[in-house]
């Protein structure tokens, strides 16, 4: 039979008390088969925990302020508190990074309302989808050899004739009720309208309201 030894400290003067709880049940404290110092070597978070403050379940999902996960890390705020905050102490330091697993139309970030509907999505392909972010924009040269100078969510530009252009969208709009803002430098006005969910008209006209080439048309698209 192994033995239990309780040993005092040669220098200390305090009295160590081991106190029983107020119970009528027998209990056993089983010590590990190895040297253990209580306090410093005790893990602060144990994967067998099931406390209300933080839970690590058997699938290693962590929940804070919630009973179960559903995500690798779930933080559930209650009352008026902020659920999650990341701070940086250095001005030139990136405060937070969200890294996607690819480059396609998959969300890196989603902001949802209380009914779990997304109100803002940021995709791996660089698009930000919401009612307040531009779905597409472009600046192109409509004279000589027509070409985009720069664009976003535009796949191609069609030259249909003098001052007649069509912009083709990479990712289609949800419907044709989208809005197009336009501008140019050297012509009287422009005419634009959705043709389909994937293409919109962008014509440039002179003071006589006749189509005329423009060297700097710009378009901006908002919608669903």
């Amino acid at each position: 039979m192994s033995k239990v030894k309780i040993q005092g400290h040669a220098s200390g003067t305090g009295v160590l008390t081991i106190e029983a709880p107020n119970t009528n049940d027998d209990s056993t404290i089983t010590l590990p088969d190895g040297d253990v110092t209580l306090g410093a070597a005790t893990p602060s978070i144990d994967d067998n925990g099931n406390a209300t403050a933080m839970t690590i379940d058997s699938t290693e999902q962590i929940s804070i302020g919630a009973a179960s996960g559903g995500a690798r890390l779930l933080v559930a705020a209650t009352g008026n508190e902020t659920g999650f905050q990341v701070e940086s102490s250095v001005a030139a330091e990136t405060t937070a990074v969200l890294k996607g697993g690819g480059t396609g139309a998959v969300s890196v970030l989603e902001c949802r309302d209380s009914s779990n509907s997304a109100v803002l999505k940021v995709y791996q392909d660089g698009r930000g989808l919401s009612q307040f972010t531009a779905k597409a924009w472009c600046n192109f040269n409509g004279t000589g050899t027509i070409a985009f100078r720069d664009s976003h969510n535009c796949s191609s530009l069609t030259d249909n004739g003098t001052g007649e252009y069509r912009v083709n969208l990479t990712n289609a709009m949800a419907n044709t009720s989208y809005a197009i803002l336009q501008g140019q430098e050297n012509r009287n006005h422009m005419k634009t309208e959705p043709i389909s969910t994937t293409q919109f008209l962008c014509d440039t006209l002179n003071n006589s309201h006749a189509n005329a080439d423009s060297d700097n048309p710009q378009c901006l698209v908002f919608g669903d």
């Binding site: 480059t103 396609g104 139309a105 392909d125 472009c138 004279t143 000589g144 050899t145 027509i146 070409a147 985009f148 720069d150 664009s151 976003h152 535009c154 796949s155 191609s156 530009l157 069609t158 030259d159 249909n160 004739g161 003098t162 083709n168 990479t170 990712n171 289609a172 709009m173 949800a174 969910t197 994937t198 293409q199 080439d213």
Partner: protein
């Protein structure tokens, strides 16, 4: 390189790819242009891929498309690409992928 085709009124149209979109595609230059033709032209549109310089627009309204030996015809995108470009919904994809 660009894509040229005939409009309904007989006038030539030229379709110029966006450099940023072109950079996302894989394959040869011609394969990339074929993909764009399938994506941005109505299915069944005869077209040609050309690097001909079309910069003198003085008589732009008189440009005509004449079919050459390398004429191609635009085709439907794959279901995966149609979903990728939001041309169909996930429900439509599931119904047709079956």
């Amino acid at each position: 390189m660009k894509i040229i085709y005939a409009q309904d009124n007989g006038t030539l149209a030229q379709l110029v790819p966006a450099p940023k979109f072109l950079a996302t595609l894989e394959g040869t230059d011609e394969e990339k242009l074929i993909h764009i033709a399938n994506k941005d032209l109505p299915t069944g549109t005869p077209y040609e891929i050309t690097d001909e310089l079309l910069d003198d627009r003085t008589f732009r309204g008189a440009w005509e498309y004449v079919a050459g030996a390398d004429e191609k015809t635009s085709e439907d995108l794959s279901l995966d690409d149609q979903l990728k470009y939001n041309k169909i919904t996930q429900e439509e994809y599931d119904a047709n992928a079956g």
